[in-house]
Symmetry: C2
Subunit: 322 residues, 2 copies
């Protein structure tokens, strides 16, 4: 029997999560025809993933409706993993309107193009733990049914995307599954993010021959829920293929860790002693002291669980550059 390969569209394929999702498909020998789109070419070689997979890249801006239309004339996906996003909270404060356009509007363009072309597919709309916003400490760990009270333009755009997803599910029966994804970390992550930036600076101290050093940080007393990106892409694959349409799923470890503990883990692994110094400029104006998610919904429904311990993630991140 000549079963046709599943077809997967990945938006934002050039990013950190897009790269890991391809790696996941490859490692799990999933037979699929993948079209990855992005506004900039992947910095990794997509040819490495050929085999069970066939991967093509197309440079497409989701704001450009015409090229989106031409995409769907050539490629009719069974699954759409919508990763494309301007996901920086800080950027969204500087350029709120751009942040909106590059989250909400690109999502609307994608969904309406799929509707216009009458494509029957399942779509994973990736959201953020930032949507929760103002949190009472007795609401920790955060469940999906908690009311959202976003506190950045980025978070408002994500809430809008989620509300729109629900509308399209309810009114047009578009098959959308939604996530609220917590902080993900792992190899290949850009050093602008907090954990890679700690690693980079602590390595630099070691590489300069010192046994001890000081790094400047923001508020490292805050507690966050970190989940390895390789666990995240596993969750995304399960949600995309088996998640319930119209539902929102937290993607998180369910465990909180203080940033200062992470600094210590990195320093221990690298083998030097590190002190931290608070830099006021790195402290965010309205940060929550604790953000930890409840992952019972996805674990109960889909059997997903985070498999990679934080120690392993950090070790892998330290080792990747060597």
């Amino acid at each position: 029997m000549n079963k046709e390969k599943m077809k997967i569209l990945i938006t934002g394929v050039s990013g950190f999560v897009g790269h890991h999702f391809l790696q996941y498909l490859y490692d799990n020998k999933i037979e699929a025809s993948v079209c990855g789109i992005d506004i900039s070419e992947p910095a990794y070689n997509i040819r490495e993933y050929d085999g069970f997979l066939s991967v093509t890249y197309r440079k497409i801006d989701l704001l450009d409706k015409e090229s989106l239309a031409s995409l769907f004339e050539d490629f009719v996906p069974d699954y759409v993993l919508h990763l494309a996003s301007f996901s920086s909270v800080a950027y969204s404060w500087k350029h709120p309107e751009e942040s909106f356009v590059n989250n909400t509007n690109i999502f609307l363009n994608l969904i309406t193009a799929i509707q216009t072309h009458n494509i029957n597919c399942r779509i994973l709309s990736v959201g953020s733990s930032e949507e929760y916003g103002i949190i009472d400490q007795d609401e920790i760990p955060l469940s999906e049914d908690k009311e959202v009270r976003p506190i950045s333009p980025y978070a408002v755009a994500r809430v809008a995307q989620e509300m729109l997803s629900k509308l399209f599910v309810d009114s047009y029966h578009v098959n959308i599954i939604m996530t609220r994804s917590f902080n993900h970390i792992g190899p290949w992550q850009d050093s602008r993010f907090v954990v890679p930036s700690f690693i980079k600076r602590i390595k630099e101290i070691k590489d300069a021959g010192y046994k001890r050093g000081i790094i400047e940080t923001g508020d490292i007393g805050i507690v966050r829920d970190f989940v390895d990106v390789r666990d995240v892409v596993h969750a995304y694959y399960l949600l995309l293929t088996k998640g319930r349409v119209g539902e929102i799923y937290n993607v998180c470890s369910g465990k909180g860790i203080k940033l200062e503990k992470i600094v210590k883990m990195i320093a221990d692994e690298i083998g030097i002693y590190v002190e931290t110094k608070l830099c006021e400029q790195l402290v965010r104006p309205n940060d929550n002291p604790i953000i930890v998610g409840n992952n019972h919904k996805i674990t109960d429904e889909l059997g997903w669980k985070p498999n990679i311990p934080l120690e392993t993630t950090i070790k892998n991140m330290i080792d990747q550059g060597e």
Copy 2:
């Protein structure tokens, strides 16, 4: 003493509410310098309002950041009444992305231009009762603290605008006051809206010489909260000048009325007998049976109350064309 006139910017001045707001300022002999902007020229003559007022019109698209910047170089408002909007629910289903752009993005452009020019003003951000969305009947009349569950792209855009307003208040101390405005009706309203369309068609029957007739309608069993636009603009003036920054105010009559009752009131006033016939195409897919607001917040805090009885509004609407 040469007191400087207050300066008011009205966005969407060419619309129904913009026109009535000017009329309100004029009738109440409020001394003000008004700049009205819109993408299309007013169909009424702004010169009629000269006197205590000085009114100028500028054709400005809020999506055009450059002309917005040049506006604020010439005109530094003390008050901004932000009426500009694509406010059709039906249109938002056909063109969700446009609806977003013309609600959320124009709002963001306006606020960021005001910030960039360091203008110290009070802004009224007009929202909609549509934001409430899915309603349990025991939540009627709706209070401002009810959780919003929007059920159209238009409503999501309004919720996003309101969430963004709160952020700008909390994080940048921009002086924004917000409304959730219920159905407004009154003279000069476009006949695409429900009550003027009833009036138009019932008048046509009378004008054709009949004593009785039939009109096709959507579901007229639904209950809505109608407030006269002249009461609305009074509320907007009070909110703009005295409302509490960062707060949301329902603008509504607090009373529910069935649309079928309105049909009867119009027919009685016009003096003919009208039957109605349900037209499936006019029935909305996900309409709430009852939407009625609670106006205690604005009545208690600002002493506003709706002054014009529905009978008078309808009589005025019928008489306007004669």
